[in-house]
Assembly symmetry: D2
Homo-oligomer: 129 residues x 4
Amino acid sequence: MMGAMSADVKAMPGMEAMDMAVMQACMDACAACEQACTVCSMQMMDCAPACMNCADMCNTMMRSMMRMQGMTPAVMMAMLDACIAMCQMCMEECMEHAAHSEVCKMCAQSCKACMDACMDMKNMMMATA
Amino acid sequence: MMGAMSADVKAMPGMEAMDMAVMQACMDACAACEQACTVCSMQMMDCAPACMNCADMCNTMMRSMMRMQGMTPAVMMAMLDACIAMCQMCMEECMEHAAHSEVCKMCAQSCKACMDACMDMKNMMMATA
Amino acid sequence: MMGAMSADVKAMPGMEAMDMAVMQACMDACAACEQACTVCSMQMMDCAPACMNCADMCNTMMRSMMRMQGMTPAVMMAMLDACIAMCQMCMEECMEHAAHSEVCKMCAQSCKACMDACMDMKNMMMATA
Amino acid sequence: MMGAMSADVKAMPGMEAMDMAVMQACMDACAACEQACTVCSMQMMDCAPACMNCADMCNTMMRSMMRMQGMTPAVMMAMLDACIAMCQMCMEECMEHAAHSEVCKMCAQSCKACMDACMDMKNMMMATA
């Protein structure tokens, strides 16, 4: 299923020219980050609260991208900013444990990837607008 | 249970002086908005996609306020901005149907209340910082 | 908003005679349990994984009751059973810490209340069918 | 990230001999079903309420499998039953539109795959117990 959703996702008003490959990559990165954060939170380390927050934010971000009719470019931008800020904080928390925990290392990488994918979305939207 | 959670919520680093009554009001407004939006989305009117996005964003916002250890003031601010933008958009969509649908009218009111409560949080955080 | 949702919730096919007060009580108990479990999970005690599972299950249960058009009595029964099982397990975990943690004690009480409200829903549905 | 989570997931008490490949397949099927249902619900067809319920149930199911420490075999069984019942109902709703909507057809297939994967989990757990 991964990598096949954007073909069925309706465009956001005013953003019909969006590059669907960039959006698909962002949805996939959000899904992967939600999962990595959920697993990481189970270690009961210091990063757990950030991981739980990040898992929920990434799920909400992913779902919203699948419901573009219910967004405006301005709302999308604000949500991408929130997701980027959350992923960055979670990445920094998990990086502190990366030397001792493979799960934290993987989680930090997923956060980084999600943060980058959200930034690509923002750049794409600004270029399209 | 409503109205009693903030007593058990740990403060965010750097924000120990926060007014817990303001935060409790914001969590309650998010919970109410999630519910109103979920019910409203079931009407299958034009506002449904916005309502679903708003329900998810409000749930994520509420949960994050209950997990302040996993936030920084900067992340919280970005999430509040996203929640405010989402609530405002949903409110505007539902207001267009408010004359014909009591559910849309209630949903728009919940969105307005949630938006206001998130703004109160922002103002309180800026006054505390 | 609490206590006012069921008036706008559409009935499930075959269940038009349902007592909406019982359903409203169940939705409220689910919402309260999601919140108590989310706060409790932040203590990073042994019960945290059960609390996170319970928070998600209760949110899903509550939302489904607000979307009865997308349920059948059989699906509803299966979900109520799952929610009851989850709440009972979480309650038992938190009860072990209730003597030392006020938050765990409150969480166990919320789980018990949610379990009871779900059982009331089941009994009401069986009486209505 | 897909297909790599189960290696980091802790076993459930009493279920240490579980086949992690079966569980990974089930988590992937849940994730795919949540996404297909979310997109399908946006068509605003009759199946939308079932799709929204199914999306939430699948997400809760997936996350719970990533938090096995917070489950017992009995709770897991009840949740799998609920997920199976929900997926079956959503599949049947979407099958009625499959001839006219490619999205509904894909959604029905995702529901079927998730239902089957949950049944495989149940069978594996019964064989392991």
